[in-house]
Each structure stands twice: as C-alpha cells, then as structure tokens.
C-alpha cells in the first residue's frame, strides 16, 4: 500500500500532469472541436498525485509554507471540480415592465449534478439606463430590478457593470446585450385578444438593422422593422440608452403585399386578424449563473498564495542576503514587499 502511494506521489508524475494540462489547455482553446473538459484528465492526475505526496513526502512535514500552498492548491482543484459538476450558466432576455420567465432561459452550460430551481426564481424588470460616450463607448449600466429577499422583504436595485443581484442562490448579472421591443396587441378574427412583445435585434450593435420576422397567432409570417424618426444612438456625441418616449414608425411587410407603416396606437390588418402597435419598451439580457463554491475557491487560492509567501520567507529570503551584510531588511525590503 505504502509503496503504491509512493509511486503515485512521484514528482515526475507531477511534471507529466503539468505538461499535459498546459498542452491540452492550448489545444482546447485553439480548436473548436476539443472541449475544455479534457483538462479534467490532467487535473485528476494532479489531484491523485498531490494527495499521495501530501501523505508520504517528508518535504511537506519540514516546510509548513510549502504544505499550506499545496493543500490550498488541492482545494482549488477540488472546488473547481465541484463547480463544474454543480454549476449553471444561462442567458435570458427580460422585458421592461414584466417579470422574469424561466421558460425564456437559454442554457449555456449546466453541471451534471445541478438541481435546476429556475422555476422558483422571481424578479421584475424596471427601468434601464446605459450611458454611452462618443464612439459608441459603453460606460455605466443601470438596470433596475425588483425582487423579494429570502425574508420576504421587497428589494429594488440597479445592477450593472460590477454590481449583481443574488436571488435564491442564482447570480443575476446584466450583460452588454439589450435592445428595444415592440409591444403589440393581436385581435384575432376569432375574437382572441393577445398582448405580446417582439424583441428587436440588439441595440446599438444592430442600430442599422432593427428588423425581425414574427409569426402571427394566425400563422402568417410578417417582417417588422422599427424605424426611429430621429437617430437614437450617436457615434460622435454622448447619449443614453433606455428612453422609450421618442417617436417611431413600425413597418409591417408581408410577402406579396405592399408594406404598411404604423405609428404608436395604429393598427394593420393581416391574415386572420389585426395588430396594433401599443408601445415601445426595452429588453435587457442577463446572465443567470449558479456557482456555489466560488467564495471557497477564492479562500483556497488565497491560502495557497499565503503558503507560497511563507515558503519564500523561509527558504529563499535568507539566501539572498549578500555575504557580510547585516542590514538584511534594508537590502531586501522591496523583495519582501513584493
């Protein structure tokens, strides 16, 4: 048993694991057909190797800083592994004036063991303000949302840039992606009345192409174009995204028919019913994320760094003092600070 542990603890195996990790990381980042998940293999080798070394290698007993560093490193590997298994990462667009809808979430990545609780997630989208400087340079983002905390208290926060909201363990972060949405009323010939929103392409990224296709409840495909009477964004001066009070026109085009234009409040007849342009809103895209061990990952990394510093102070610092100098502190002050 002990001899097997010693073999597993081989420092040569550590080097193999490190080289493999580096090579696979580069390959995975350069080739679309290789998933970064392949790095799990060298990580697993390193974890086993390190566990065995921590149990058998005498170097660690004599050098506490080194021990702390490697224990921190082991914890980093373990927390990364747990995060990969438990995490959730997704995107959702939420319309101003409405509540978040779990059905709209597009999953980017979901760990094997993730217990999806998105259905229970509730928040309401308020006003959005994003300031731009000339050159379409995005500055501060303020997206107001409302939600209830665990204790039932109603909270209203403006998230954006470095501020996020944490609801039921999920982290809600504003992304750069946002745009306008047309609120449309469908009045079907069958008597049905439906109020809904059509999200236009991301703004100002697709400022020049605010067009989308939409299928009416009666099954007809319609092309909708949002046309502002005056430019909303500017390349040469500062402006703010989020205002919806400006004048606009909606162009409704159907294959084989002359296009029609609608102002706010006007209607157009289509197959099986009519649509009315009710209002202009904005939609905001969020990253919805669940990364349970993130704070612990950070603690483990700091532990590792502290261990490294201690190891340096014990093993390297004394050796750097020039022979015959007793002003050790002076000579090495900058190294110690660093």
């Amino acid at each position: 048993m002990m001899s097997l542990l010693r073999k597993l603890a081989s420092l040569r195996l550590t080097l193999v694991g490190m080289i493999l990790l580096a090579v696979l990381a580069v390959i995975a980042s350069r080739r679309a057909d290789v998933d970064a998940g392949v790095t799990v293999v060298p990580l697993a080798i390193l974890v086993i190797n390190l566990l065995a070394a921590l149990l058998t290698n005498r170097s660690f007993r004599a050098q506490t800083g080194l021990l702390v560093f490697h224990v921190g490193l082991l914890l980093v590997f373990v927390f990364i592994g747990l995060t990969v298994l438990l995490r959730f990462d997704g995107h959702a667009e939420v319309l101003q004036g409405t509540a978040f809808d779990a059905a709209q979430v597009e999953t980017v990545d979901q760990g094997r063991w993730h217990d999806n609780r998105l259905d229970g997630l509730e928040f309401y989208q308020g006003e959005v303000r994003i300031n731009y400087l000339p050159g379409l340079n995005r500055q501060d983002t303020h997206s107001t949302i409302e939600y209830r905390t665990g204790s039932g208290e109603l909270r209203r926060v403006a998230i954006g840039d470095t501020r996020t909201a944490s609801i039921d363990g999920y982290r809600i972060a504003a992304t750069f992606n946002k745009g306008f949405a047309l609120l449309l009323q469908w009045s079907g010939d069958d008597g049905s009345e439906i109020l809904g929103a059509v999200h236009m392409p991301s703004f100002p990224e697709f400022d020049w192409k605010q067009v989308t296709t939409w299928t009416t409840p009666a099954g007809q495909e319609v092309e909708l174009e949002l046309d502002f009477d005056r430019p909303v964004s500017s390349d040469t001066s500062a402006w703010t995204f989020g205002d919806t009070s400006m004048a606009y026109t909606v162009h409704v085009a159907v294959a084989g028919d002359a296009p029609r234009t609608l102002q706010k409040g006007e209607s157009a007849r289509l197959e099986g019913g009519a649509i009315r342009a009710v209002d202009l809103r904005v939609w905001m895209a969020y990253q919805i994320e669940y990364v349970p061990f993130l704070p612990w990952l950070f603690v483990a990394a700091m532990l590792a760094i502290g261990g490294l510093a201690a190891h340096f102070a014990r093993r390297y610092l004394p050796a750097t003092v020039p022979a015959g100098t007793d002003k050790k502190e002076d000579a090495l002050a900058h190294v110690a600070r660093a």
């Binding site: 490190m18 990381a25 995005r138 390297y316």
Partner: protein, 273 residues
C-alpha cells in the same frame, strides 16, 4: 500636458534607453562595471516616463490601462522602476541590465510607432481587483525580467569563456541565489495576478475563466513557472545552465502573452463592446 510634449518625452526616454544599452555594451568591452552610469540613466528614464504618464492621465482623465500604447507605456515605466530597485538592492543581479536595456529599448521603439489615441474605459474597469491584477502583473514581469536577464548573462558566460564577461557576475553563487529568489517572488506575483484577474473577470464579465487565448497562455506561463521550480526539486543535480534556459523559455512565453496575445484576439480584455 499636450500630446506633442508627451510624444517628445517618450522619445527622450527611448534615446536614454539607447544610451543605457551602449553604456552596457561599453562596460563589457572595457571590462568595467557600468552599474553607476546605467542606474543614473534608468533614474532619468523613470522620471521622464513618470512625467509623460502623469500628463496623459490628467489630460485623458484616466490611467493607461487599455490600448496597446497604454500598455507599452505603463510597462516600460514599471519595468524601468523595478530594474532600478532590484539592481540597487541585489548587487548579485546587476548584470541583468545588459539584456534588459536592449529589451526595454525595443519596447520603447515599438511605443513610438503605435497610435496614442486614448479609448475611454468601460464602466467595468472601475474595480479594485483590476488594480491588484494590473499591479501584480507588472511586478511579475519586472522581477521575472530581472531574474531571466541575469540568468541569460550567466548562460552567455557559460557559452563564451571570457574574463570580461566573467567580471559581470563576480560572485556566481550569490547571483544564482538571488536569481532564483527573484524568480520565486515573480511566481507569487503571477499567482496573485491570476487570482485577481479571475475575480475581476467574474465581476466585470460574469465569468472567472473562459479559456480565451490570453487566459490560456497565462495559465501555461504559470504552469511553466511552477514546473521549473518543480524540476529543480525533482532533479537535484540539474545543471545550472538547464535551469537558466528553462527560465528564459518561460520568460519568452510570458512576454508574448503580455504583449502579443491581447492585441491579436478577443474583445473582453480590451473591454470594447
């Protein structure tokens, strides 16, 4: 400060670095220590670049964090400061300026050819972790450069037996110890940079790690640094030259990661959206 004056200051710094390089070469040719004149020139470089950076900072209302020009300017300054401090306090690695000076000169010449137009910083850059990330990164590069340049001089001494070259590091044992101490501290700084970068990326871009080329190559650099320290522990009778050659390889990767990768790819690190 006007842009014209800023450009002129940069030009002065480049000329000073050319002078430092010449002084270093002359030191080898004449077999004399060039430490004092070099330290004087580096002090002038630091002062001139500090003035250029301060003037730019005040004029643009933001620090030099974003464009290639910003990165080259701030790194030239931090590298010069660190080389000055390291050679002042660790006499064993004073020879580092022989190779560091021409490298700084190359960065300086590159800087003169790059567009100096500033891009406003996106809101996500307003974050304390970014400061930790940037400062630890600069410390890493400066300390690692000092170690690697001194190690390269020892490699040269090994390859070309010459009394003049030998005079550059009169106490090889002390030099060797100081080189590895610097290398170790640079590894600590690199680790801090990696962690702070991940924390910042998470708060700014909602992801702490996404395998973009810059992140991947930073991880490769970190593994190389740790791997080199391991190689020294694993193979106890490793020759000095092999250790130095490995150090040089790691520095090359770090240098390309700092100055090559961010400007060839991907928006997030440039913060443009």
């Amino acid at each position: 400060m006007s842009l014209v004056l800023e450009r002129q200051l940069v030009l002065v710094a480049v000329l000073l670095l050319a002078a430092a390089t010449l002084v270093q070469v002359a030191g080898v040719v004449f077999g004399r220590s060039a430490y004092r004149p070099t330290a004087g020139i580096y002090t002038a470089v630091v002062a001139v670049l500090a003035a250029a950076i301060a003037g730019r900072w005040v004029r643009e209302g933001q620090g030099p964090f974003l464009t290639l020009y910003d990165i080259l300017l701030s790194n030239l300054f931090s590298l010069a400061v660190l080389l000055l401090l390291v050679t002042a306090s660790l006499p064993g690695v004073r020879s580092a300026t022989l190779f560091a000076s021409p490298l700084l000169l190359v960065l300086g010449v590159w800087l003169t050819g790059v567009s100096e137009i500033a891009t406003p910083l996106p809101g996500a850059f307003d974050n304390a972790w970014l400061w930790v990330h940037v400062l630890s990164g600069k410390l890493f590069l400066g300390l690692n450069l000092a170690a690697t340049a001194a190690a390269s001089v020892m490699l040269l001494q090994g390859a070309v037996p010459s009394r003049r070259l030998a005079a550059l590091a009169a106490q090889p044992q002390e030099t060797e110890q100081q080189i590895w101490a610097l290398f170790f501290v640079s590894f600590i700084c690199h680790s801090v940079m990696l962690v702070a970068g991940a924390v910042w990326a998470h708060s700014a871009w909602g992801r702490y790690w996404s395998w973009d080329p810059l992140e991947t190559w930073t991880l490769v650099t970190w593994l190389m640094l740790g791997g080199i320290l391991h190689v020294r522990s694993t193979f106890r009778n490793l020759s000095q030259g092999v250790g130095h050659a490995l150090m040089l390889a790691a520095f090359a990767v770090a240098f390309l990661t700092f100055f090559g990768v961010p400007f060839l790819s991907i928006a997030p690190h440039k913060g443009l959206m």
